[in-house]
């Protein structure tokens, strides 16, 4: 489990290490218009990876 910042950017949803702020990975690729209100929205949560699948669970 990795603590991440999960943020929407024009290329999709990217993950950054929550502590360092370093780029971790692009979790979901999709083109967003730079004016799309979703771009820039983010959450913090846990990234999990089992070897065969990965998923993200946002904090609540």
């Amino acid at each position: 489990m990795i603590r991440v910042k999960y943020i929407c950017e024009v290329n999709g949803y990217n993950m950054y290490y929550s502590e360092s702020g370093d780029f971790f990975k692009t979790y979901f690729s999709e083109s967003f218009d730079s004016k799309d209100p979703e771009v820039g929205t983010y959450s913090y949560g846990d990234y999990m990876y089992t070897g065969s699948r990965e998923w993200y669970v946002a904090d609540e």
Binding site: Y27, F28, E30, D36, P37, E38, A58
Partner: protein, 465 residues
């Protein structure tokens, strides 16, 4: 066939005018000697002409079962009930050789007398038959009809009632009458105790459960618990047949479907949801360009989610699980269909439909209840969740104008991604007996922004008793 044996009378009464033949009969002398409870002297003797008595109360009130079919009643000569000799009718030894008496006998059913009964007409010394053998004249001493050394049926039949009707509630009133209608000089004659009635009857076979009149019992095999041990007085020696299986569609959990979370793409239906009956997603389910609910919105297919949806602040964390709709990210539980609302798709109308169901033929019994069940998740942190509308139609493509709205969900209880789904139950009872294929349409629209990822999971149609 059953019979009562010879049953002697307990009661007697002077006939008087009861026979309605214009005669007024006096009582035999010593009439009670013929009763079965009397001992000692056994002869009842006519002391005047005409004389006659009714002997009755041979049967009790339930000698012949009320459920039995009566076959016949005889007057039978047997051994004196006190065992002291044989019964008979006729002249005794002190009767003079030129003296005679004429007897007749009748059956009585409690309300009516039979016509005079016929003697057997067999030639016997000293007996002359007349009136079609219904009168027998006994001439001289020791002339008996049967009796002495021969016992047996005097009158009546094992297969008939001598013209009388049978009422089992009046069986105790049945009896026989004997009359002396003519005499020459002063014969010493009479009837000797030991004569009684004998009834023949058949008892009904045991009632078979399946032959009950009116077949009022039709579902003995559906007793809850499926273990009938005793029902009324009937003991069952084996378990009842299993309760019939009620119809249930597949439980559609989307687990075998390929994930499609791109806002611009649709879930592509595949096995098993592509099996017959196949689901259809997107514009292929719509008759026309638009679904047309309140306004014309671009039609789009539902997405197929796994674990969380991409956007923050909306969607479930995983697929619904039974029984309470808890979201799960476990393998085999993590998928669902949903409305991916990013990139402006919240303005779209998401449409998909199920396969075909002809409930009238699928259900075990159309008198049972039929429901559509599914779970819905409508979390939006910005309170911009859209609505979910469920329709039914008999066409493979439809729209708001032609389909029938079954259910509307316009507010949702979820307060976070991990909130439980809400179970929705929609009655389909109105469609149970309609002999047509039906399709359920899931339609969602009116999302206010990208945080309107509405999820549906665990769809099933169920028959319940």
């Amino acid at each position: 066939m059953a019979d009562t044996g010879i049953v002697g009378p307990l009661s007697e009464i002077e006939l008087g005018t009861a026979l309605g033949d214009g005669l007024d009969y006096d009582s035999f002398g010593f009439a009670t000697r013929v009763l079965r409870t009397t001992g000692g002297s056994s002869a009842a003797i006519p002391l005047s002409i005409p004389s006659g008595n009714l002997y009755f109360n041979c049967f009790n009130s339930n000698n012949i079962p009320s459920s039995a079919t009566i076959l016949g009643v005889e007057i039978v000569a047997g051994v004196d009930f006190d065992g002291s000799g044989n019964s008979s009718i006729g002249n005794f030894g002190s009767t003079g050789s030129t003296e005679s008496i004429t007897f007749r006998m009748y059956l009585f059913n409690g309300t009516s007398y039979s016509s005079p009964l016929a003697f057997d007409g067999v030639a016997r010394t000293g007996i002359t038959y007349s009136d079609s053998n219904t009168s027998a004249t006994f001439l001289g001493p020791n002339i008996r009809y049967l009796g002495l050394n021969t016992l047996g049926t005097l009158f009546g039949s094992s297969t008939g009632l001598s013209g009388l009707s049978w009422d089992p509630t009046a069986q105790a009133s049945w009896g026989f009458a004997i009359t002396a209608t003519a005499a020459v000089n002063t014969p010493v004659s009479g009837i000797i105790r030991g004569i009684g009635l004998k009834a023949y009857y058949s008892e009904s076979d045991p009632v078979k459960l399946l032959n009950l009149p009116g077949t009022s019992i039709t579902e003995v095999d559906k007793v809850p618990g499926n273990t009938i041990a005793k029902w009324g007085v009937i003991n069952f020696t084996a378990a009842a047949p299993p309760t019939p299986t009620l119809y249930e569609s597949l439980l559609y959990s989307y687990e075998n479907q390929a994930t499609q979370e791109n806002a611009s793409s649709n879930w592509v239906v595949s096995t098993p949801m592509s099996d017959s009956p196949a689901w259809v997603n997107g514009t292929s389910a719509v008759n026309g360009t638009y679904w047309g609910l309140t306004s014309n919105k671009t039609v789009k297919g539902w997405n197929l989610g796994q674990d969380s949806t991409t956007s923050s602040g909306t969607g479930p964390t995983g697929g619904a699980t039974l029984p309470d709709g808890t979201p799960s990210t476990s393998t085999g539980e993590e998928k669902y269909m949903y409305t991916e609302s990013s990139s402006g798709r919240n303005a779209y109308c998401f449409v998909c439909r199920t396969g075909a169901y002809n409930f009238s033929t699928l259900m075990t019994s159309t008198s049972n209840n039929l429901n559509l069940e599914f779970f819905v998740h409508g979390y939006s942190s910005s309170d911009e969740m859209g609505d979910l509308f469920t329709y039914i139609a008999t066409a493979t493509t439809s729209n708001n104008a032609s389909a029938t709205l079954l259910d509307s969900q316009t507010s949702f209880s979820q307060t976070g991604n991990s909130s439980n789904y809400t179970k929705i139950t929609v009655s389909l009872n109105s469609y149970r007996t309609v002999n047509s294929d039906h399709y359920i349409y899931f339609v969602s629209q009116n999302g206010g922004g990208f945080r309107s990822d509405l999820a549906v999971d665990l769809v099933q149609i169920k028959e319940t008793s």
